[in-house]
């Protein structure tokens, strides 16, 4: 009897500090920094440069086109070939594969509607312009203006869907119809918003001062998050609710594609953008105010653009390996090892570098990965697209 009591007392004594430890100490400054990564989800994305953005009829047309292989030159490849719903809108490969292997990884399309630069180098300044690229690229879908416009005109369902979305029959010139197809594709992709995660529950509880709810978030995840917003300085670039500031950075990833050939990153992206007839300064921008074109008008050429790539958002990151623009890392553990061990020689910075070898302990690395994984969640099942014009 006495031993039982003693054991109970001991247990209580042990349990008390353990329970109190479920929530680490979070300073006011840290709470503010954590708060910046939410709330989630954001309000639906709207794109002033796309007149059917956010319209149910435009979204429906876009979803049908997204899955339609007839947009490609040989009728065998659709957007969904590489951006697969069941693979978090990517393809699970280190680098994209079409007829040939591509040099860059297929990015996931989660939360793509909130971006302002598209592709790894920001060669696109709108979601619709970025959606034209794979259709015309001879290495990818190898389609054409004529092919896309013929499809919209001649397929009964698509022609009907077009008329509902745009209010006119598909009889514009070929290039305009290609752009409209891309605007429908964009309207659809902007609806791909990743679900709430365990991190979001923690963030909301912490900001609201609800210690009990906050303590449901694992200790390892909490420590990893502290590293992320603290010593790791990760939030300098992976900022805000999407965990990206939408701009570009150089974190010391090799940019050799093959011996003797480099991927110039943002440098090439700006050049491609400037040369594109579909950029926001061109005739296809539906926004008369000019506000949507501000970044394009003012973007600046910098020496440091060479070898910079867009800062990826980190929601659903654990679900869509491989990592980096070239798929060079297979796992999140590899990514964290990179940030832990990166050689300062590979980082070009005159001032205090934003990225430096962190020299993480095994425990810290585990914590950081645990935090990153708390940004993942299972998306709800998707219903099959409803018919365009039943």
């Amino acid at each position: 009897m006495r031993t039982a009591l003693l054991a109970a007392a001991l247990l209580a004594a042990l349990a008390a500090p353990a329970a109190a430890q479920r929530l680490l100490d979070w300073s006011e400054a840290e709470v503010a920094l954590v708060g910046q990564h939410g709330p989630w989800p954001l309000p639906p994305a709207r794109d002033a440069s796309n007149r059917i953005s956010g319209t149910p009829v435009g979204i429906a047309l876009g979803e049908h086109l997204f899955n339609d292989a007839r947009l490609s030159g040989d009728g065998l490849m659709s957007c969904a070939t590489c951006h697969q719903a069941g693979r978090d809108w990517s393809d699970g490969r280190a680098r994209g594969r079409a007829r040939v292997d591509l040099d860059r990884r297929t990015p996931s399309l989660w939360n793509v509607g909130y971006l302002h630069w598209f592709g790894w180098t920001g060669a696109g300044d709108s979601l619709w312009a970025q959606s034209i690229r794979p259709i015309l690229d001879p290495l990818e879908m190898a389609g054409s203006r004529e092919r896309a416009s013929r499809l919209l005109r001649e397929d009964k369902d698509l022609a009907c869907g077009y008329e509902r979305a745009f209010g006119t029959k598909p009889d514009g010139d070929d290039e305009r119809l290609l752009v409209d197809a891309a605007k429908a594709l964009a309207a659809f992709q902007a609806t791909l918003v990743s679900p709430r995660t365990r991190f979001d529950d923690f963030r909301d509880a912490l900001v609201a001062g609800d210690r009990e709810a906050a303590a449901r978030y694992g200790l390892s995840e909490q420590r990893g998050l502290k590293l992320f917003i603290g010593e790791g300085n990760c939030n300098a670039c992976h900022f805000g609710p999407r965990f990206t500031n939408g701009e570009f950075g150089d974190i010391g990833i090799a940019f050799f594609v093959r011996p003797g050939e480099v991927d110039s990153g943002r440098l090439g992206g700006i050049a491609t953008l400037a040369a594109s007839p579909f950029n926001l300064l061109g005739r296809y921008n539906d926004d008369p105010s000019g506000i949507s074109a501000r970044r394009t008008r003012h973007v600046r050429h910098l020496h440091s653009n060479f070898g910079e790539f867009r800062v990826p958002g980190l929601r659903q990151v654990g679900r869509s390996a491989a990592y980096m623009h070239n798929g060079g890392f297979a796992t999140l553990e590899d990514v964290v090892r990179h940030y832990s061990e990166v050689s300062p020689d590979r980082l070009h910075s005159d001032g205090t570098p934003l990225v430096r070898p962190l020299g993480l302990s095994a425990q810290q690395s585990t914590d950081l990965v645990a935090f990153l994984r708390s940004l993942d969640a299972d998306p709800p099942p998707r219903p099959a697209p409803s018919p365009l014009c039943p």
């Binding site: 939030n235 003012h298 910075s349 205090t352």
Partner: protein, 133 residues
């Protein structure tokens, strides 16, 4: 705030500055000055968000009371020695009033904006520090 009040006191005590209009609408912005210039400015929108484009509205005045010219506006993070990824453009609204469009602070932290002004030949640079959260 007290500093601003002090600046205004200074300003009104110096009759030569009196013609310089400091009102930028929607409340007055910040005022900085050198031996030759007095510059009032404010962001539009008033709150600068990380990664979001904003404009700066300026009134540039010289000590003699005449309007000055805004030649260039730029910003950098002194700690990391990098500039903005955007190059602001300047539109003159007449009478020493200007609008600089296309600024983006793409990271949180300390940004130093540089304001290049001129009334005659020589360009003078004034600076101001922003701490963005």
């Amino acid at each position: 705030m007290r500093l601003l009040a002090a600046l205004f006191a200074f300003f009104f005590a110096n009759a030569a500055w009196a013609d310089c209009p400091l009102d930028l609408g929607r409340g007055t912005g910040l005022v900085i000055f050198s031996d030759h210039y007095m510059i009032a400015f404010r962001p539009d929108p008033l709150r600068i968000e990380v990664g979001e484009p904003f404009a700066l509205l300026f009134n540039v005045c010289t000590k003699s009371g005449s309007a000055g010219e805004l030649v260039a506006v730029d910003a950098q993070m002194p700690e990391h020695k990098h500039t903005m990824n955007y190059h602001p453009s300047i539109v003159s609204k007449g009478d020493g009033r200007f609008r600089a469009e296309g600024l983006v602070f793409h990271m949180a932290g300390h940004w130093e904006i540089s304001i290049d002004v001129r009334a005659g030949e020589e360009i003078e640079r004034l600076t101001h520090d922003y701490y963005i959260k």
